[in-house]
Symmetry: C2
Subunit: 471 residues, 2 copies
């Protein structure tokens, strides 16, 4: 069944690379709203491709957005598309985005970031792996069925946006609005917008959530000279250091009472998932450049990054941060830290506990200064059920294409999209990456290998088939 599809994909790989080259050439950097015209050009190009394949496309209004300047701007539309529908088949909705991170030669690119360039089997260019390559791979997987005159075994819907890199403005509202229309008949949602953990193909079943905290201590009405006033002032910076120092112990354990209470206990089945991951601890020490991690074994390190919460102190605003020496007593300082959260932690509950903790510690300082703690909640943590048809189908598709068992992995970082889809639509959600762990998304010299791009296209084609068998 799958062989002719794979053959078609192999035979047309140069054409698929050429299409990616055309897409990469569009500078759809969403970082600067004055350049959203390029994002719209890219969305239109994607819409045209889908239409050519027989898809029905709506360029859905995503509303407006208020900039930090106060100015309100119109958002680029979101593509909502679908191919011919058969009510007997399951319906799969594919999410992707066609905007990119900024890129400039002078940032240290070896090749023009907007001219896809193949070197030793790697396709270098901004958006090659994040996320233009995977979006095209989905379309080419559909094409492989159409061109070989095979019925696509699932109904395909697509939701493609152009503002993922700046936080998907308008998208979540749109999802909510279309829950009972566009999403009503959707059974599964699949996202391919992350990377494998190693060189082995992976299925991603969880992401950490996060909250970002601002601890502001305000003291004197002006910055003071430490020679003149030092010794008589309870300095805001000293208060802040005491507060920040109360958050963690030196093993990385969060000291905020109760904050880790809701962490889902590790089951034996889950523990076993870690045995198969081909993560090389020694190699990772070299890559990162540390003598040791906080944990001793591969499994413990991965769990610390993926399935346990963590707290990182990012910096201090308002204190002296330039090179050199300056003998200032800063009047107002703001410490910044974030807590990565895992199921079943609840960000508002974490926020409340952190505030209580900081207020309690502050009360012991007998300080004349003022404490203000604020938090921005990034996203809730997400974890999928591995018994779900999507994961079973994904596992089989990996075996079909690569001949190996996938690694079941999580992302330690926050990718709000999976959790949002799951929460807003109530559908099953899977993350099915085809990008390599060394693709450098967001970095200079972003790439996707020809191997991952083409075998990834096969993976998607096989996935449609395997999913249809289970439904």
């Amino acid at each position: 069944m799958l062989e002719p599809l794979f053959q078609y994909i192999d035979d047309h790989q140069n054409q698929f690379v050429q299409r990616l080259k055309e897409w990469v050439a569009i500078k759809s950097d969403s970082g600067d709203h004055t350049k959203w015209g390029e994002v719209e050009t890219m969305l239109n190009m994607a819409a045209e491709r889908i239409k050519k394949m027989g898809g029905k496309v709506e360029l859905a209004d995503a509303g407006t957005h208020q900039l930090p300047s106060g100015e309100t701007v119109l958002l680029p539309p979101v593509i909502l598309a679908e191919f011919a529908k058969d009510p007997k088949k399951a319906t799969l909705c594919i999410y992707g985005h066609v905007d990119v991170q900024p890129a400039k030669m002078e940032d240290g690119w070896a090749t023009d970031p907007f001219n896809l360039t193949e070197i030793k089997g790697n396709l270098y260019g901004r958006g090659a792996t994040d996320n233009k390559g995977p979006v095209l791979a989905w379309l080419h997987a559909v094409e492989s069925y159409q061109a070989t005159k095979k019925e696509i075994p699932v109904n395909i819907k697509l939701i493609i946006e152009g503002l993922e890199e700046v936080g998907s403005y308008g998208l979540f509202k749109l999802i909510k609005k279309r829950r009972d229309s566009f999403f009503a008949d959707v059974d599964f949602i699949v996202i391919s917008d992350n990377v494998w953990a190693t060189t082995t193909p992976a299925l991603t079943y969880g992401t950490r959530g996060s909250s970002y905290f601002f601890v502001e201590i305000e003291g004197p009405k002006l910055d003071l000279h430490s020679g003149v006033y030092g010794g008589s002032i309870q300095e805001p910076m000293a208060d802040l250091i005491a507060l920040l120092g109360s958050l963690l112990d030196h093993t990385g354990k969060i000291q905020v009472v109760g904050v880790s209470d809701d962490v889902t206990p590790l089951t034996e089945d889950e523990r076993k998932l870690y045995d198969n991951i081909s993560f090389d601890l020694e190699e990772m020490k070299n890559v990162v450049g540390v003598k040791h991690f906080l944990q001793d074994t591969k499994e413990e390190v991965l769990m610390a990054r993926w399935r346990y919460p963590s707290l990182s102190i990012h910096g201090v605003e308002g204190a002296f941060s330039d090179p050199g020496s300056k003998t200032i007593i800063p009047r107002k300082v703001t410490g910044k830290f974030s807590i990565r959260q895992v199921p079943n932690m609840d960000p508002p509950d974490v926020e409340r506990k952190v505030k209580e903790h900081l207020e309690q510690v502050f009360s012991t300082l007998n300080s004349p200064n003022r404490l203000k703690v604020t938090a921005t909640v990034g996203a809730k943590p997400w974890v999928a059920n591995l018994q779900d048809s999507q994961y079973v189908a994904g596992q089989k598709a990996v075996k079909d294409v690569f001949g190996v068992e996938p690694e079941f992995i999580r992302e330690g970082s926050t990718i709000p999209i999976a959790q949002t889809f799951q929460e807003e639509t109530g559908k099953s959600v899977m993350m099915l990456p085809i990008s390599g762990h060394d693709d450098g998304e967001h970095s200079q010299n972003e790439k996707i290998s020809r191997y991952n791009y083409i075998e990834g296209t096969k993976l998607f084609a096989a996935y449609f088939y395997e999913l249809s068998l289970l439904h």
Copy 2:
């Protein structure tokens, strides 16, 4: 004896203000070495004035200085001057400087900083109080003797530099070099380059020294994403917070073992000096904008600022310090703090104890990161003997001019010049301020009041006389 001098000074006050206006008009900002030409112009102008008064002037070579860029630049000269010498008289050497801090209208000046402007008895302009006004006051005190045909009762020498605001490059070497020539016959050195503590005239008998510490923690070889790595990495920022948090308790007491051991015990005589200081604790709370100081009484607050050591944490370099949120794990962070020191603390000894303390605390963190502690020693603390003739003469001169007892005060900040003169020349040193406590040296709208400028000139004239009586 003093009346005719005072009369002359009163009669010529408009001329003295005019001369200050001419000096303020020279933009002798020493902060930018490309503008040291203006500093030289100012030094030449001062030299011409001294010559006109019959003084002998040497523009002494101050050598060269290496800029942070590596470039070596020639330093402006230092004025070494003297008036006619009588071996029977004591010799007083006066120190001053004619360079200024930067000043621009757009920083918030109400008047042009380089156009001395009188408003309600205050003379606004950069350098009015720091230090062109006092330098001219010394010259006008000499002039008052010459013009009234009175013998100057002490031999007068002058050392006037143009780089005080950037750290007196070359000066200390020059002092050492001329110890056995220019300074050989000097009995007393007097400095008027600080301010009164209140509205009462003051004699300053001590300054705190300081050491500036850099605590560098270096970890991974690159900045890391806190989502991807958070929980597995012993973060440099967490190590740094633990180290900085070990330095102080919340009462401001330094926690470094032994660091305060050498603080001179408070004597009853010294304690009594604080009773007379007209410092208003409530007013100071309002000025600074704090609900309370670390101490409860006026005496305790002043002692904390003047005669006890203090530790201030100034900031962190290398961490996230901009507004907004960024989820970075910084790879290398440098905490910065300084310790103000008092007699008989010894900066190298303090440095050794601080390093030992930080290394000891760091060893408890079991960290894979690297700690490096470096220190720059600013200056040793200084305290004068109040039984010294200069202080007795100064006290009498204050009574002659102002009819009150002076306040005996210290400076909490580091003014290396007094300690350096005392150490390098072995002479008695006094600081005799004429500037008001609200003159705003280094700030926008720097000023000296006409009252302080003119009565200060009288104070200097009276001081020459009183000193000669005691010799």
